[in-house]
Symmetry: C2
Subunit: 211 residues, 2 copies
Amino acid sequence: MSLCRFTRLTDNVEKFRKMNLMTNPIQIHDIISSRRSPVAFSDRKIEPEKIAGLFEAARWAPSSYNEQPWRFIYAVRENLPQFTAMLDCLVEANRIWARNAYLLVLSIARMVLSRDGKPNRYAFHDVGLAVGNLIAQASSMGLMVHQMGGYSTDKARDVLAIPREFEPVAMIAIGYPGNIDELPEDLRRRELQPRVRRDLSEIVFENIWKG
Amino acid sequence: MSLCRFTRLTDNVEKFRKMNLMTNPIQIHDIISSRRSPVAFSDRKIEPEKIAGLFEAARWAPSSYNEQPWRFIYAVRENLPQFTAMLDCLVEANRIWARNAYLLVLSIARMVLSRDGKPNRYAFHDVGLAVGNLIAQASSMGLMVHQMGGYSTDKARDVLAIPREFEPVAMIAIGYPGNIDELPEDLRRRELQPRVRRDLSEIVFENIWKG
């Protein structure tokens, strides 16, 4: 990633050149730049006040009509039957590493608005905002978060008794970072891969769509 | 909001009591606790490198299959024709305050997966995660963010030339905080209202749904 892409977008090339940003990465906050979705988790217990902090951060996210469509069910590993019930909803490829996380969370969306019972266009979007807060809070406390779409929503709904107007969104594994060298070789390779993203020029346009 | 609600959930009441958290709010990071969606914006220009930082933060959000379904179109106020084109998509109730923001952004979701063209269940969710990063980055740089669902998606699609497989998500006003006393009385009252959220006991359940 380089700033070259962005300068083209902003038409502020001269300004950027002067600031010598062409050769430097764009600065973003540590909480965001240090985040990744790991498969290596430590068996260290997460302190109860940190668990509370995760959900408190999620709670203060913004939402359309302040509907707050987010709900969360969680289980800690020391509570083994409940933890295993959630773990068993995952596909095998996720289960092999997620079982090492201390905390499993299911994010859930209320699909209708409280005010009129109509579909909430922003239900999933606003759950994403809340989980974004949760992840930022986790990073600030030294915790790692890995979300998964690879699980049975039907099984989760059934096992966790989720009502009809709510929809399971993502399974989330949370824990302290683990030792990469203790991973099986295929997971170890995966963990060491660099993170990749589209260039800014592909995702940000000034004034009008440029496709 | 008090911790009482959460202690009931976690069954860690004794631990919480000892830590004397019953009378203290749950600690969360300043970036999250200081965020709000204001209607008072300053006319101060946002530095180009900060604009770059907003999108760079969004860019590094996690997403399902690393699809990165987020796209952004933005206009700065000094570029008046384009800024006005975006402003005119808003409903009047939003336009009266959003026009004071220095930066308008439309978040956009790609609704199908690159890998197979099938619907992306997490399109809106992952745009929410990216905007969550953008908001956290904004807070860390002293900027305020206010998202709006109150705008014409049809008009935005038309004016900004958004392709069919993409969907406009939210209009986002961004700027430095403004002087509340310069707001019209109704907006001033709105700005001074305390933020409210559901209690943790309504949104977080241990082990199984409790409704």
